[in-house]
């Protein structure tokens, strides 16, 4: 039996916009097993990204709990969450979110350097080789294509050897062939390094590649498969 790596209980998130309250998540109970590949689908604004960000420690819940790799994120302080992010969660965003002022190598090693950890150069070389960006290391993000930037973002996420990889519409800005290539690489890498992968996507083809699909609607989980 695989161990549960992510577990949320009655997870809610409310945003206050002027006088209105927007309910992004409404009592979500959600579990992900170790090394599982889960895709989350749903309409825009249904709370997919909010859920992913909560799991990644980017946001605080309004109520409920989130346990990731045995740690209760809802009880953590900002500083602890930052440490959690750079040690346990590898993020991949739709906009790539590479740091424009750093070259690709520095971007990949950035979370490691923040942690004061020694850079595993062999792992980095292996990652960039497999992600086909070994010749782009000295370049800056603005010099790379969208697909290359997303591959660099994957390398950054994997370089820290995270327990869980969280990808928020990683193919949203890529064409079909690049999208399949990126997801394929992501899946291969996650399997290779025995990592859990949670992907948000609108693309059903991509969603089908996952072990399980979770559908969110109006801040609630509709169906788990």
């Amino acid at each position: 039996m695989e161990k549960t790596i992510v577990k949320t209980k009655s997870l809610s998130k409310h945003y206050h916009v002027h006088a209105h309250t927007v309910i992004a998540l409404d009592g979500v109970d959600f579990e992900v097993k170790e090394r599982e590949f889960v895709s989350i689908i749903g309409k825009s604004g249904c709370g997919k990204s909010t859920l992913l960000h909560m799991i990644g420690g980017l946001d605080f819940p309004t109520s409920g709990t989130i346990i990731v790799d045995g740690m209760d994120l809802s009880k953590m302080k900002e500083e602890q969450l930052a440490i959690f992010r750079r040690r346990k969660a590898g993020f991949i965003f739709q906009q790539y979110n590479l740091i424009p002022d750093l070259n690709i190598y520095d971007n990949i090693t950035f979370p490691l350097e923040l942690d004061g950890a020694a850079v595993d150069k062999e792992l980095i070389q292996e990652l960039v080789k497999e992600l086909h960006i070994a010749d782009k290391l000295e370049m800056f993000p603005s010099m790379l294509s969208g697909g290359e930037q997303q591959r660099a973002a994957i390398a950054r996420a994997l370089a820290i050897k995270p327990a869980i990889i969280l990808a928020d519409e990683p193919t949203g800005n890529l064409d079909t062939s690049a999208s399949h290539e990126v997801i394929g690489l992501l899946k291969v890498m996650a399997e290779k390094y025995q990592q859990t992968l949670i992907v948000i996507t609108h693309d059903l083809d991509i969603a089908q590649m996952a072990d399980r699909i979770v559908r969110l609607q109006d801040g609630k989980i509709e169906k788990g498969k």
């Binding site: 990644g56 980017l58 500083e79 930052a82 740091i99 002022d101 950035f110 000295e138 370049m139 010099m143």
Partner: protein, 826 residues
């Protein structure tokens, strides 16, 4: 293409954009406001500073003039000056003799001067602060100062009062009664003089051609050396005439260039301030402008929209800035100065329309020039590029992997990524520090002008003035042992050096020193005939008496140093050598090494001359003859009862108010208080400070304003930079950078900015300051760096550089989560 009426929609959009982006446009508004404020305030207060600086010179010199012709002048020369287009006024001043005694004091040393109407009403007026009565019109009228009256023992006399004086002019010695026609208060070295009428001057035997002084003031405050030279040449001066240009006017062009240089730097600061923020402000909205283009806005319309926004913010900012400048310069600063009792003399802070025009012009030009580049950037970017636009997204050069501390590396990268912006921030911060450095140095040097050089840099000097020129036996023990011990007992008086002395005569020796001296003396007094004077001298040598003065070892060291160390101390202390002192005319060096005979009562002595001194300190006694300065032990071996002639005091703490009061009380209690003359460093400083009339404070206000504006520029730029890097910080946080780590990064960035600016200031800034200082340094004040204010300013800049990014970041992030911040850009 057909023209469309899109003004309404562009105006509406411009207003809405400004309204919804209040924070960003407020920074721009604040920048333009600060520039307008800085330009108006600094120039308004700066002009007042220049006026005060000139007023200070006028007061120190006693009258307002740029050139003077001394030792007489001809009527033709006066006319040349009067008709010279560059000359504003030509005044005449003449020496008319000196008062030797009054009905209340038998030993007086007060001069008699005559000045013509132009001199008194135009050139002297700025140095006169109070005038009761009028300038003498009749022959036996005197215009006095309280000091001159006091010197005559008539300190309580008022306008209309009578005074009987004995005075010497070119026709001899006379005694007459005078009426005080006026009493004036003010500045200048002519306080111990009486002004007399033209009628009086005409009967003194002096004539303007041989002893008059012609003073001229130029129309302009800035004159070239060539103009002065040409004027001098046109006057065809004789060998005996002395042409003297004031030190200020000689350097006036360099001063003007230095002032213009400072003005340029100030304008450049304002320009950089506006340019920098405008660029950041417009480039920060390129995405928005791209969106507008996507929706069909033409480049022309976009340019109009940006111009409209800038125009709205610019005009409001400029108006507010100038209004603030007017309030600060013309209301707040004068009020604060008044509250602190700082007088601006008769030069108040006034409104200069040209300063207003310049402020508007420079701010307007800076806005116009500053908006061009960002407009091009915004208009040239395609809608698709605009969506992905980030400031400074040009193609960077590939960079190799580097080691070292992550934060330093990133901070350095941040500075290197936008070199232009970094340069502007460095430059504006360094420039304000440099201007502060430069102005503080100049102001500090003015502050150091608070010391009139007196003998031996003493804190207090007391002279025994009981002596009269005519009577060798007139010297009284005004400074006796009791008086001396009271002075020595005064707390804070660290050193007391006494000059003791006794009158001596120099027996007449044909071809000897006495003969040489008598010849020189009769040349100076036209009413004396040499042959008669020799007979008189032989009959009554005591009428031409001199003084034998004794000094202690410490005073000898000082005197010898001032003479170039030519005297052997042992020779001097043992009484084998003396220093010959006489200030009346030049004594040739040939007398050094020769022996001079002198008599004390019936004792005849000879002493070798080791050196000759022309300093007038030892000539402060009333004897007509020369002085021989010997060691005190030598003097005591010749006489058992030497009299104390003067006391030189040095305090433990200079400028001590309490010590001054105590010494003055001791003098007041003395029966000889009328004959004890004082020179006080404390009083001298007070006089100069009065003459400076808030000049130092005005200058300080300017430098602080400039420093403040420079720092606000940094705050603005940094605030904008952090605002534009919000996304980068959010990304960093999303991959695990903690707020503490971001703070460290920002601190290091701040340190780099501060360090760079301080480095520029202490290297290039010192060079520029030294150059400007020497350009305007017509008073030959030594260059000294004002360490304390500079260190304070540097510390302030350091703290500000470090705190600004942190505070701005905190304000930008507020309590929003990383997700919320990242979503802003999705």
């Amino acid at each position: 293409m057909l023209a469309v009426n899109d003004y309404a929609v562009i105006n509406k959009l411009a207003k809405n954009t400004v309204r919804t982006n209040k924070r960003q446009f407020f920074i721009l508004f604040l920048t333009i406001l600060l520039s307008g404020f800085m330009l108006f305030s600094v120039f308004t207060i700066g002009l007042t500073y220049l006026d005060l600086s000139r007023l200070q010179n006028t007061r120190l010199y006693g009258s307002e003039y740029d050139i003077a012709i001394m030792n007489g002048f001809t009527e033709a020369q006066k006319e040349i000056l009067i008709y010279h287009s560059g000359v504003k006024s030509v005044g005449v001043l003449a020496y008319c003799g000196n008062v030797k005694s009054s009905d209340s004091d038998r030993s007086v040393n007060v001069g008699l001067l005559w000045g013509d109407k132009t001199y008194w009403e135009s050139q002297k007026a700025p140095a006169v602060t109070e005038m009761n009565g009028h300038y003498p019109q009749r022959q036996k009228e005197l215009l006095a100062t309280k000091k001159a009256l006091k010197a005559c023992g008539k300190g309580s006399l008022s306008v209309g009062g009578c005074l009987s004086i004995t005075y010497e002019d070119n026709r001899g010695i006379h005694t007459a009664d005078f009426v005080i026609s006026g009493i004036w208060k003010g500045y200048g070295g002519d306080q111990a003089n009486f002004y007399v009428s033209e009628d009086f001057y005409e009967q003194t035997g002096y004539d303007l051609e041989s002893s008059g002084i012609l003073q001229a003031k130029f129309q302009s405050s800035y004159v070239t050396g060539k103009t002065i030279e040409e004027l001098k040449d046109s006057l065809e001066l004789s060998m005996t005439q002395v042409f003297q240009a004031s030190k200020y006017i000689e350097k006036s062009l360099t001063i003007l260039l230095a002032v213009l240089g400072l003005c340029f730097i100030i304008c450049l600061s304002a320009y950089l301030l506006i340019y920098n923020i405008l660029f950041l402000s417009v480039s920060g909205k390129v995405r928005y402008y791209g969106l507008l283009q996507t929706l069909g806005m033409t480049k022309k319309q976009l340019v109009r929209l940006i111009c409209k926004q800038i125009w709205m913010v610019g005009v409001t900012g400029m108006t507010a800035g100038i209004l603030l400048g007017v309030s600060v310069s013309l209301i707040v600063v004068p009020y604060v100065m008044k509250v602190f009792g700082i007088s601006l003399g008769n030069t108040g802070l006034s409104f200069y329309p040209e300063v207003l025009a310049l402020s508007i012009f420079v701010t307007g030009i800076a806005v116009l020039c500053g908006v061009r580049k960002p407009i091009h950037t915004a208009a040239d970017v395609t809608p698709v590029e605009a969506v992905k636009y980030r400031e400074n997204m040009g193609i960077p050069r590939a960079k190799k992997k580097r080691g070292g501390n992550l934060y330093w590396r990133m901070a350095k990268d941040q500075l290197g990524n936008n070199q232009k912006r970094t340069a502007v921030v460095f430059l504006s911060l360094a420039m304000s520090l440099m201007v502060f450095f430069c102005l503080t140095t100049l102001i500090d040097s003015q502050g150091r002008r608070t010391v009139y050089p007196n003998y031996w840099d003493a804190d207090y000097i007391i002279h025994n003035a009981t002596q009269t020129t005519e009577n060798i036996a007139s010297l009284q023990p005004a400074i006796d042992d009791t008086f001396l011990s009271e002075i020595q007992k005064t707390e804070n008086v660290a050193e007391v050096h006494a000059v003791t002395g006794i009158p001596v005569t120099f027996p007449y020796e044909e071809g000897g020193f006495s003969d040489f001296w008598l010849k020189g003396c009769t040349e100076m007094k036209p009413y004396l005939i040499y042959s008669d004077a020799v007979s008189e001298y032989q009959r009554n040598p005591e009428k031409y008496y001199g003084m034998l003065k004794g000094i202690d070892g410490a005073e000898f060291d000082y005197l010898n140093e001032s003479l170039g160390g030519i005297i052997d101390k042992q020779e001097f202390l043992s009484g084998r050598t003396a220093v010959l002192q006489y200030a009346g005319f030049e004594i040739p060096k040939k007398w050094i090494g020769s022996s001079i005979s002198f008599s004390i009562g019936n004792q005849k002595r000879k002493i070798a001359i080791g050196a000759i001194s022309y300093g007038d300190y030892y000539g402060a006694t009333a004897n007509i003859g020369a002085n021989l300065i010997v060691s005190q032990s030598c003097l005591e071996s010749l006489t058992s009862k030497p009299c104390v002639l003067s006391l030189v005091m040095k305090y433990q703490r200079s400028y001590d108010d309490e010590t001054e009061k105590e010494i003055k009380n001791i003098i007041k209690a003395s029966p000889y208080h009328n004959d004890l003359l004082s020179i006080s460093k404390y009083e001298d400083r007070k006089t100069i400070r009065d003459s400076q009339s808030g000049m130092l404070e005005t200058g300080t206000v300017i430098s602080l304003l400039l420093l403040l504006v420079g720092m606000l520029n940094y705050v603005n730029t940094m605030a904008n930079s952090i605002q534009n890097r919000k996304l980068t910080f959010s990304i960093m946080e999303s991959v695990g950078m903690s707020k503490k780590q971001i703070r460290n990064l920002l601190i290091q960035e701040g340190i780099l900015y501060a360090g760079g600016s301080v480095f520029i200031t202490v290297t290039i800034g010192t060079g520029i300051t030294y150059f400007i200082f020497q350009s305007v340094n017509y008073m030959k004040i030594p260059f000294t760096i004002p360490v304390f204010p500079l260190l304070c300013a540097i510390s302030l800049v350091m703290v500000l550089c470090i705190l600004t990014p942190i505070v701005t970041y905190k304000r930008t992030v507020r309590n929003r989560s990383v997700t919320e911040r990242l979503r802003e850009y999705e």
